[in-house]
């Protein structure tokens, strides 16, 4: 009899340890998952911020005499395309991130082409309105690179947790999947800093 009680106690103790271990694993994953979602919403915010600046930029530039319309239309089209690409925070798979990044990078490069062509219009460049817009755009590009970096850090922490034994077992049971990163691809080195040629 006594032996039986001992067995049951030991069994319960083992079960309890397993349960606690489980809770720890699960909570750790939930916390990291939440951190990624939060970082993602910041990423969306800063990209939205850039989109919100574009109508103002387009209007300012359009006013300049003889500004080439093709560059402007390219920006407007790229913005429209980027608006279409929405990613659900619960679906941050590699393909979705890549799709989002592609659309946004296309917008980014059409914007830098626009800003390069502004160089040929010194009168436009000198207006206070354009100077303010320029500061806002530069700040937005900086914010984008910061939030992308913070997102990648959060994803890295999450992905490491999901793939590392023994947490990968818990992750598999509850359907936590590896998430995608922003890639630092072509021209990313040059993109974050919009150079308006202010350097003498």
């Amino acid at each position: 009899m006594k032996k039986n009680v001992g067995c049951i106690v030991a069994l319960l103790a083992v079960l309890a340890v397993v349960a606690v271990w489980f809770v720890k694993m699960y909570n750790g994953l939930v916390a990291k998952d939440e951190a990624v979602s939060s970082a993602w919403s910041q990423v969306e915010n800063v990209y939205q911020r850039r989109m919100d600046l574009i109508p103002n930029l387009v209007n300012t530039v359009k006013g300049a005499a003889g500004f080439e319309q093709s560059t402007l239309q390219e920006v407007v089209a790229a913005r429209a395309a980027a608006t279409q690409v929405k990613v659900d925070p619960s679906q941050l798979s590699e393909e979705n991130i890549a799709r989002f990044q592609q659309a946004q990078d296309a917008l980014g490069s059409s914007l830098s082409r626009l800003l390069v062509s502004v160089e040929r219009y010194p009168d436009l460049k000198a207006t206070q309105n354009f100077r303010d817009l320029q500061a806002q755009l530069e700040g937005t590009e900086n914010r984008i690179s910061v939030e992308r970096q913070k997102f990648n850090t959060a994803v890295q922490s999450f992905n490491t947790a999901v793939r590392r034994f023994p947490r990968n077992i818990v992750a598999g049971m509850f359907g936590f999947e590896k998430k995608g990163y922003f890639e630092a691809n072509e021209g990313a080195e040059a993109a974050p800093v919009v150079d308006f040629g202010t350097q003498e």
Partner: protein, 292 residues
């Protein structure tokens, strides 16, 4: 960030509670708490290459390039009292070389790695100055923490740098340019003037300053200097010990603000306010700068 962490803790907590109830109500909540604490997300600081470490003991004016000379202690006192009375941390960093960094990145990394501003409000500002020297053009940049992005938009930072600071910097007067910039930046950070008030007239600091004095006068006449009701009532003339023209406007701005952290005046009057260190504020890439 803080808010998010709290929410996160709460949600994790709830889940932990739900899980734990099965095996035994009494024993396990404690363990669940422990497990939650173990798994709090924390952010690793990004690789710190090229960005200097904060001075030890921490200071708000970090004149690594040695361009502020004998003005540094006065500016340090000014920024400490600003920190004491508004909790906004403004740090000045001068370096002779950016180590290949873009000034925006450099200022951001300093803000994020040093944790300028407090954790709750992310209300830090980094003013980075790299003098014109053998290493290249002069660069100045104001990086603004998340919490102050609304009060100090990028376009305003750009104007402060280009219109208030750089004209002095061109003549090698770094302390003068810095103070001239701070005259606009501090009231903006404290919410005493709005970006709109500063923006319309570029270089129109005098107009802003006059409007500011007028507001202070009106407010003190009406007798609601401590309208926020958070700090000590500003009573009686204090000898602030700064004694320069700076003291006057600072007194005004402090009076306006009503002192969030009451009781800072004691240390302020003997001119040796203590600085407890940076508070873990976070930055998101806001701010702007210029070069000469």
């Amino acid at each position: 960030m803080e808010k998010f962490t709290m929410q996160l803790m709460e949600s994790v907590f709830r889940k932990a509670g739900a899980f734990v109830r099965k095996p035994g109500k009494r024993l396990f909540p404690g363990l669940a708490v422990a497990s939650v604490l173990l798994f709090q997300p924390f952010m690793l600081p990004a690789a710190a290459q090229g960005v200097p470490q904060p001075s030890s003991p921490p200071r708000l004016v970090n004149d690594f390039a040695g361009i502020l000379a004998q003005s540094a202690p006065g500016i340090e006192r000014l920024l400490r009292s600003f920190d004491d009375s508004t909790s906004n941390q403004v740090t000045v960093v001068t370096v002779s070389d950016l180590g290949g960094y873009d000034p925006a990145r450099f200022a951001y990394e300093i803000g994020e790695q040093w944790g300028v501003g407090n954790r709750k409000h992310d209300n830090g500002i980094v003013i980075l100055i790299k003098p014109k020297n053998a290493n290249g053009n002069g660069q100045a940049y104001i990086a603004v923490g998340y919490g102050l992005e609304g009060a100090i938009p990028d376009a305003v930072c750009k104007r402060i740098v280009e219109d208030e600071m750089i004209p002095f910097f061109r003549n090698g007067d770094y302390a003068g340019g810095l103070l001239n910039g701070l005259k606009v930046l501090l009231p903006l950070a404290a919410g005493e003037i709005s970006a709109k008030e500063y923006m319309p007239s570029s270089g129109g600091f005098i107009a802003v300053f006059l409007a500011f004095i007028l507001i202070v006068l009106v407010v003190s006449l009406v007798g609601v200097a401590s309208k926020k009701g958070k700090g000590d009532r500003f009573g009686g003339p204090h000898d602030d010990g700064i004694g320069s023209g700076l003291g006057t406007w600072w007194l005004l701005s402090s009076a306006m603000n009503g002192g969030h952290h009451g009781g800072s005046w004691g240390s302020f009057s003997n001119g040796s306010g203590s600085f407890g260190g940076f508070g873990g504020g976070s930055f998101g890439g806001g701010g702007a700068g210029g070069s000469w």
